[in-house]
Symmetry: C2
Subunit: 271 residues, 2 copies
């Protein structure tokens, strides 16, 4: 693709038309790279590699694919990412990238991890494009600001809340605040999958009513940026734990707890 042809094109107007194509192509390259590295067992082998820092190998491989594509095609985007932190290409817009969200699942071979990519200027509320792609089954959740949210090209919307059929996704474990367990106990069904960007998208597509994260480690802007746009474009909202609309700067050190809701009636149940 020809997204940018030189430094003269480092203006927002020159890229808006092609950002979608860039995001989908990039996700596809990462998906194929991880698969072809050693077939579908890639993640399992990395997990068993025990080469000192096996945890980051899959992230590094995926991130490199994205950074090299941006460089090779002179894509007019800065990059905010896990390993590289911030690559300033002098562009107006920044790609907020989590190359592999759910790394621990990937390392164990648990089929639930994703790439998360958002494009915006400086903060969560000005994100214009978001793509979250499941790197195991290839499902792609995508949104453009003002144009709706889509799963594999089909429009998705959050579900109306029915307490009898409620399904909450809740971050649990040692680092979770005890209140997380109280929240989980209010749901007819509760889940915890271990990949935040996909879990946000599950609320967007009506697969869950709530995604709740209240933990010591908190989550980073790179985990949240794409999912937040997708949820909002699907009719849901991303709130901080005081119930305010979540806002975060594009800063690798930005971390927050939050909750994603599909229908505000779920808030009545949370108490």
């Amino acid at each position: 693709m020809q997204l940018g042809r030189g430094t003269n094109d480092l203006r927002m107007e020159s890229i808006t038309e092609n950002v979608k194509e860039f995001l989908f192509e990039t996700a596809e390259e990462v998906y194929k790279t991880l698969r072809s590295s050693s077939g579908t067992d890639f993640s399992k082998q990395v997990g068993m590699g025990a080469n000192g820092t096996p945890t980051s190998r899959i992230d590094e491989i995926a991130e490199r694919v994205v950074i090299e594509k941006v460089k090779r095609e002179s894509v007019p985007l800065n990059i905010l990412s896990e390993e590289a932190e911030f690559i300033d290409n002098g562009a107006d817009m920044t790609l907020v990238l989590d190359p592999v969200d759910g790394t621990f699942n990937a390392l164990l071979g648990t089929p639930f991890y994703s790439i998360s990519m958002a494009v915006g200027e400086s903060c969560l509320s000005d994100v214009k494009y978001g793509l979250v792609r499941n790197l195991t089954d290839g499902d792609a959740y995508y949104a453009e600001k003002g144009k709706g949210a889509f799963l594999n090209g089909e429009r998705i919307r959050t579900a109306g809340f029915d307490p009898e059929k409620s399904l909450f996704i809740v971050y649990i474990g040692k680092l979770a605040h005890p209140r997380s367990f109280e929240i989980a106990a209010k749901a007819r069904r509760a889940r915890s999958f271990g990949a935040a960007s996909l879990e946000m998208c599950y609320v967007a597509s009506g697969q869950a009513d709530l995604y709740y994260v209240d933990c010591d480690a908190m989550l980073r802007i790179i985990d949240i940026a794409a999912g937040a746009l997708i949820v909002r474009e699907a009719g849901g909202e991303v709130l901080d734990l005081e119930g305010r609309r979540l806002e975060m700067d594009f800063d690798i050190s930005s971390r927050s707890n939050f909750m994603v809701i599909g229908d505000e009636r779920v808030l009545e149940v949370l108490g």
Copy 2:
């Protein structure tokens, strides 16, 4: 396949060689049937069908595939299953079948549900063959008594327990006993995927250290039978919540809470 050729073959000896082939063929037929019904979006469409009892449609379709195959090929197995309850074919061995484990995930389009098939005489401890196949990515967990456990043909073993990297899968939600949340809070990472047979297999393959189920509804023999053999053949154990080796009769009304462990050292952490 020619597994049985008539009532004279309804003896255990006549089928042992071919049971593995029967189980894999059957899982493949179910997998293909669900996929071809309307492509990869089958489950989503069923979920949105709202035809009165959409919950059971996918189970019915899958169960019918198995029952018709057994009948068509005169397979010398009785069938214990969700909808049909017990089909007595006058055989020595019984197929313990959960045609779709994780139905709610399937209906929502969440890629985490499986078929679970076990073959044995009358109870959990005499199960000789077990197959759990993920109906979304096709991963197949299989075990034969005394011959080990396998994921897609490769030997699997449970993981040694390291508290620093612990991952527990815990049944959570409104029906869970409060102790479940205490257990989840002891793990570095905790998950809840919503398909018991697969979650048991994740302990077998070392993807998790513990799978803990303590809930009002409890789980049925059809959810547990195959996974229990796979876990035990992988070096783990399935215990009741008092720590005794789990035993259950082949009876559709048999229900139990239980925990699956990969390494007995995890018990020290549970307290």
